[in-house]
Symmetry: C2
Subunit: 516 residues, 2 copies
Amino acid sequence: MNGKKGRIEIDVFAANIRPPECGKSSGSGGRNLAKRVWEFCKDDPGRVTFSFKVGLAVLLVSLLILFRASYEVFGTNIVWAILTVAIMFEYTVGATFNRGFNRALGSLLAGILAIAVGQVAIRTGHIAEPVIIGFTIFIIGALTSFIKQWPSLTPYEHGFRVILFTYCLIIISGYRMGHPIGTALNRLYAIAIGGAVTLVVNVSIFPIWAGEQLHKELVKSFETVADSLQECVGRYLDEDGQENSEFSKKVMDEFPDEPAFKRCRLTLNSSAKLDSLANSAKWEPPHGNFRHFFYPWSEYVKVGAVLRHCAYEVMALHGCLHSEIQAPHNLRSAFEPEIREAGNDAAELVRSLGKDISNMTRSQPASLLKKVHNSTERLQRSIYMHSYLLTSPSEPLNADTKPSLKPQLSSSNSDLSKRLAEYEGMKKFSESEGTTESYHETMKKQQRRLHSWPSCDIGGFEEEAVGVDLPTKLTALESTTALSLATFASLLIEFVARLDHLVEAVDELANLARFA
Amino acid sequence: MNGKKGRIEIDVFAANIRPPECGKSSGSGGRNLAKRVWEFCKDDPGRVTFSFKVGLAVLLVSLLILFRASYEVFGTNIVWAILTVAIMFEYTVGATFNRGFNRALGSLLAGILAIAVGQVAIRTGHIAEPVIIGFTIFIIGALTSFIKQWPSLTPYEHGFRVILFTYCLIIISGYRMGHPIGTALNRLYAIAIGGAVTLVVNVSIFPIWAGEQLHKELVKSFETVADSLQECVGRYLDEDGQENSEFSKKVMDEFPDEPAFKRCRLTLNSSAKLDSLANSAKWEPPHGNFRHFFYPWSEYVKVGAVLRHCAYEVMALHGCLHSEIQAPHNLRSAFEPEIREAGNDAAELVRSLGKDISNMTRSQPASLLKKVHNSTERLQRSIYMHSYLLTSPSEPLNADTKPSLKPQLSSSNSDLSKRLAEYEGMKKFSESEGTTESYHETMKKQQRRLHSWPSCDIGGFEEEAVGVDLPTKLTALESTTALSLATFASLLIEFVARLDHLVEAVDELANLARFA
């Protein structure tokens, strides 16, 4: 009914790449669709491989039945082999193993239980037998349904379903057809055949390893966080502060012009994906680059969590970027080099960590970390030295009141002071001349926006604020807008502070996974 | 293998309440387990109801088979009725309908296709028949596996699996047993019986509606966000700034002493849950309080998204709280009343919105919104007026340079200025006397922490920063620490700005859902 919302969920879970506007085929229909399908395949050729593998697996199992021999041995129970393939064949090797384990253990337990109960029931005579059978079916149904809700057992949900219907099938066909053990065994054989075919096909033909996927996924997350940090910082510095009147329209929008941010948001929601890949990867034998047993897949999840912790800070930076209260553009440009440098250095560190994981090597991130700390410190220092710009802008500052600070400025800082002087000049100019985009007008606009929530009547609001005249309120707002720059810088600094933990987490992973 | 990580995933997805340390039963084992099971049931009695309903449904279907009559009519195919119950019975009514739809449509399509292909194949003669059958099985296997990966179709994944194995079963039993139409029809009847029993039991006995769950879930999210905002603000104001040396230890920790924050983080990850509940709810007929057709369930998802948007701000506030760079405690206390008031008012508004949704009523949130705006503005104003405290603390401020501001202070603000005077006094005292917890020592400690990442050698770092002596660096840091208060306040103000959108979204929901 609301296809759009539905698609959002799918975005988050099923695919990182969404074919543009899938579902809406119109106009040059067929060709358009074909193109999208082609892109879908090209994007991850594993999808096509997977499809052919499933086809092959069901074909192989069906051949067993099409040839008379096996059909005569196992009887109609051989159809369970097909069902097993259809249910057990998952995208990755690990998930297939996991599913197979659920199915095998569930069938085995249910089979043993059903045979035992069947033997007891048969001895109680013709009247009691169906009663006992019915009662146990009820109990098994209730019990498996209850247990599978237990939080630590939910990953085995499928196993509990298998127990339930296997038990019912065996005990009932035992009752009706009189040979429960035969039924149970035939069913087990059929499942074993289906499972074996599934595993052989899945592992031997272009296997898709969950571990490898997890590895790639994590590396991609690093790149995404780095990209969106840079995008965010870049946009903050480039934006002219006028776009924000659009804010209310795009509050929950997709931010179409910010591709990296969109991917970053997907990263935030990827914890479930990483978890399930790690769970699958644990079932996989050593393979490819991951050659030792008990490879620390769970460390990947931990690193992912720390990275997400950093990404939250990027979200906050992005919030600043689209905040209602904005620092004026010229103030931002005043601090531009410091902010940009810190942002770039931080992104570089994140990218280098991602590359280390990708190549399974250990570079020494210390020098990059040092660089980030240095540039962050420069940012801190320049904010400190010019903090008078961030507050009380209505007070005309006398340049002479800062004599103790100016001499300490290093060469890069003398450049900064020039820029700041320009900013001061610009401000004074716009204040006195009242250009079209004057600072105060922007402020007034922002204040109007802040107070113009549609259904709220403003009259009473103004009255309550009696005793404070409008100019004061305006300057208060103005001061807050300047503080928003400080907020942006603080968040950036906090991001850098969290990078220490990220470096540590990657180091721990490198130790446990024995990166070269 | 790593049970702990597995549990985290489960937390996020399966349950809001996690039985404490389930899985580890030790010592007074049995009794402990029984207690936990009891709490698990008490927590949501629906779990027990659900279990008994599943038991009842399988029992009813089994009775059909235990009684000779139906068994003789449908033959062995009746076992599919049990399979259908086991696979189709979901927790909520909507999910059951959805699953049933997948199963019914999948079986129907596969049945028609299998019969058609079977008829064609039979006419091609004994040698070509198995080849055609094998070929179509391969094609169907590959095609369904491919299509189900298409992002907009992943919710129907189960349907595609059903198509695959139903097709195989019917066409193969048709080939082996020679009556594909009979097989197909019997299977369809069996599935219909299983589906009917499932639906009747699920809907008529204590139905658990996805819509109701979604409603409750959303209301709970509102409370959670309000709680964690207050918790966060409260802790920020109460903390004495010394605890942060623990930061590195608990970066990815569970923050055990912040229950509301933990729940808030769950809320952030709940988008998948809301989506799937809304998807299920769309399948449900009008019920309970939701009495009109096409009830706007997707609006719930939208409100949830806007609320999450607010919750990101709470995450950022929480980041501030545990940030490495902290405003000194006495500075925080100086602004305490304003911050606390803004936080409380914002939380009150969020709670009232949650209550509106819960009761399906419309209160006028305008007055509360006005109150929040007022208190936020007071916070802005007081930060503006005392912004000199937030920056350049090394410059001894001459009280006379602020004559234009002081007279404007209202009565509550004169109280503030007293508090600030105290703060100034304290600072001067600690600076001159050097008490054990002097301000500068804290700073030095913080600086040490910032530069003491284990594997990074500090020597080179100090050298690069040549030309700036340590005291300057310290004061730069000090200034940033004070700015961290501004960051906290800005984030709080941004949270309030986002509340406008939340009020709008709730208003939209109230319109579409026709709240009274």
